[in-house]
């Protein structure tokens, strides 16, 4: 029964990891940008939520109404300035610039907020509450809510990209930006919008993590970025469905690892990641290897 519980908790945590991975996957899919500052930006989202709640006293579950648009705006601006400038040069430049951004953000947060951990919404009945299924299985409202949000966000994004008019535009620009440009599309603006969407999901991930656990300036790289990346690789590059599956596999692997030995939680997740890299480098969902 303890194992069933581990798997259920793993699946639910997987939703959170898929939410981490969503923005990373989207930015790579559209702009071919691997944003090494991804995790740190999620932590920034967490700190912004902390500030917003302190100032406006909005309920923590509604803080996203302010934080997501704010981060989306930041995403648009960053994409139109620094990231676009790097993209115009080379892949190496985008990597170096986002890595620089990551180090600068993390250390600026350390300098400003110190290494203290923060969490969002402690004492809120929905966040801390849970319901009992059997004597050993207890499901928290919050993990369930985060899982639901992750499914809605990833499904919504998949739907948006494949069926809506603007989604078609984004896919067109992702496929061939010169051709899209010739058809009268300003690809820079489309990139900006895609970055805004990605940063919006990053903000959601940051808030969700802040409620689920505690965050500190270093959480961005040693937890969020690496988990997001593992989820993306396990699921298969460039597939949002795969990202959800990858997140779930990572979550289950971690919970089973924790069940075996409490200190093996992280290691178990990475071992599964490496196993996928060795046995199925194209990921679990995609058929052929992508270059």
């Amino acid at each position: 029964m303890a194992w069933v519980n581990a798997i259920i908790q793993g699946v639910l945590t997987g939703g959170l990891y898929a939410l981490f991975a969503c923005g990373l996957s989207l930015m790579f899919g559209v702009m071919k940008v691997v944003n090494l500052a991804h995790g740190d930006l999620a932590v920034v989202g967490g700190y912004v939520a902390l500030g917003v709640i302190a100032v406006t006293h909005v309920p923590v579950l509604l803080s996203f109404l302010i934080v997501v648009p704010a981060m989306a705006l930041l995403g648009y601006l960053l994409q139109r300035t620094v990231i676009q400038a790097a993209l115009n040069r080379s892949v190496l430049t985008t990597l170096l610039v986002t890595f620089g951004l990551s180090v600068v953000i993390e250390n600026a947060l350390l300098q400003w907020k110190h290494a203290d951990s923060h969490s969002l919404g402690t004492g809120n009945a929905i966040i801390t509450g849970s319901f009992q299924i059997s004597s050993q299985i207890q499901i928290g409202y919050l993990p369930l809510l985060i899982f639901a949000v992750a499914v809605v966000v990833l499904l919504g994004l998949q739907y948006f990209l494949s069926l809506s008019k603007y989604g078609r535009l984004i896919r067109a620009v992702a496929d061939d930006r010169e051709a899209a440009q010739l058809s009268g599309v300003d690809y820079r603006h489309v990139f900006g919008i895609a970055a805004a969407i990605a940063f919006g999901t990053v903000a959601l991930a940051g808030i969700a993590y802040g409620m689920y656990s505690q965050f500190a300036p270093t959480t961005g790289t040693d937890t969020i970025l690496l988990f997001a990346f593992a989820a993306v690789v396990i699921g298969g590059l460039g597939s949002l469905w795969g990202t959800l599956l990858g997140g779930v596999v990572l979550g289950v692997a971690q919970q089973i690892g924790a069940q075996i030995n409490n200190s093996d939680q992280l290691l178990a997740g990475y071992v599964v990641f490496l196993a996928v890299l060795v046995l199925r480098p194209q990921g679990l969902t995609t058929r052929r290897a992508q270059s």
Binding site: L95, L96, G100, N107, T221, L226, L274, L277, V278
Partner: protein, 352 residues
């Protein structure tokens, strides 16, 4: 047709002179020897604080020249080189626990890192550019998590090297550490220089300019990249071993910190990526910044990161690139310079 073009080439050959550099750089070699000799004399004139700082500089310079080889020449942007820094440090600890002197352990640790680099390369070589970068990072974290599982190596809290040499004075120990550090740096820089002047340098240049064309011309892309990854593993391992010797204490968090990669990448980028001289200049800039800003906690990393971002976006070839544009100086030439006529006064820069 072919005979005509051959003659053209032959007749052109008479008019062309190919040199390694626009100016005679024989003095660079002499200068380098003099500088190394002066550096080797430092322990006789400097205090222990200066020596410790110099050792830190040696570590950064070794790391930077390795990262330059990876990213600047082989196009492998690794964010996980701290894996080798940590492994190098832990190999020294492991050997030292088994009564191997820490100075003897250093080269063994470096070789051990080279051996470890082969399976690690096999794991990450399946991924390209950005995903390669994060995969190396995950790998470094995984290696750290595995090492933390050994209580005999100090677990998560780390441990001191148990058998430090029983020398007559601490000054002698510091001097020995310094000389070992100098030797590591000289060997690292020398290896990179010799490799890049040889066949590997040509191969890497071909890959950097056009990977598909290089591959179809028979350049063995995979093997060349693996060779670079292994060499960088040895170099970063030596730097990590030097770190362990200089502390003499090893703790998983600090030795496997991604800050090592941040430092080496920023030093290379600021100095000038893809040049031998760049890491030298970048390390100097790093050491100055770190010393000037060390009283303000992590500010030096923030400033360093911002400067690196600006350099990457505005002056892509770094400080050395700027110097090269105006002065046309290569202290360590690894490319070729084409002269149009016998004794021609203006050289034609080879395409970059």
């Amino acid at each position: 047709m072919s005979s005509v073009s051959e003659t053209t080439v032959r007749s052109e050959k008479k008019d062309l002179r190919v040199t390694r550099s626009r100016r005679n750089v024989a003095w660079t070699g002499v200068g380098a020897l003099v500088i190394v000799a002066v550096f080797a004399y430092f322990p006789y004139i400097c205090g222990s604080g200066t020596l410790a700082l110099m050792v830190q500089g040696f570590i950064v310079l070794t790391l930077a020249s390795m990262w330059n080889l990876l990213a600047g020449y082989a196009g492998l942007v690794s964010v996980g080189q701290q894996a080798f820094v940590g492994l190098g440090a832990y190999f020294v600890l492991l050997l030292n626990i088994h009564y191997v002197s820490m100075f003897t352990a250093l080269p063994i640790a470096a070789i051990g890192c080279g051996v470890a680099a082969v399976p690690l390369w096999w794991l990450v070589s399946r991924l390209r550019s950005g995903y390669f970068a994060i995969a190396t990072w995950v790998l470094a974290t995984t290696v750290m998590l595995i090492i933390e599982k050994f209580p005999s190596l100090g677990g998560g809290t780390g441990m001191s090297l148990p058998h430090t040499p029983n020398l007559s004075s601490t000054a002698l120990l510091e001097a020995d550490t310094y000389w070992i550090g100098l030797a590591v740096t000289v060997v690292a820089l020398g290896t990179v220089y010799v490799l890049l002047r040889g066949r590997l340098g040509l191969t890497l240049t071909a890959i950097r300019d056009d990977e598909v064309a290089a591959r179809s011309s028979g350049v063995r892309v995979g093997i060349s990249r693996m060779l670079v990854f292994v060499i960088a593993g040895i170099g970063c391992g030596a730097a990590g071993a030097l770190l362990a010797v200089s502390q003499p204490f090893v703790q998983p968090g600090p030795v496997f910190s991604v800050q090592w990669t941040a430092v080496m990448a920023f030093a290379v980028v600021i100095g000038g990526i893809g040049t031998i001289e760049g890491p030298l200049l970048g390390t100097a800039v790093y050491m100055v910044l770190q010393q000037e800003l060390q009283s303000y906690n992590v500010w030096y990393l923030i400033v360093l990161g911002l400067v690196a971002m600006i350099v990457v976006l505005v002056a892509r070839r770094g400080l050395w690139g700027l110097a090269d544009d105006y002065l046309h100086v290569r202290l360590f030439p690894v490319g070729y310079w084409l002269w149009p006529g016998p004794g021609g006064s203006r050289g034609v820069a080879p395409p970059r």
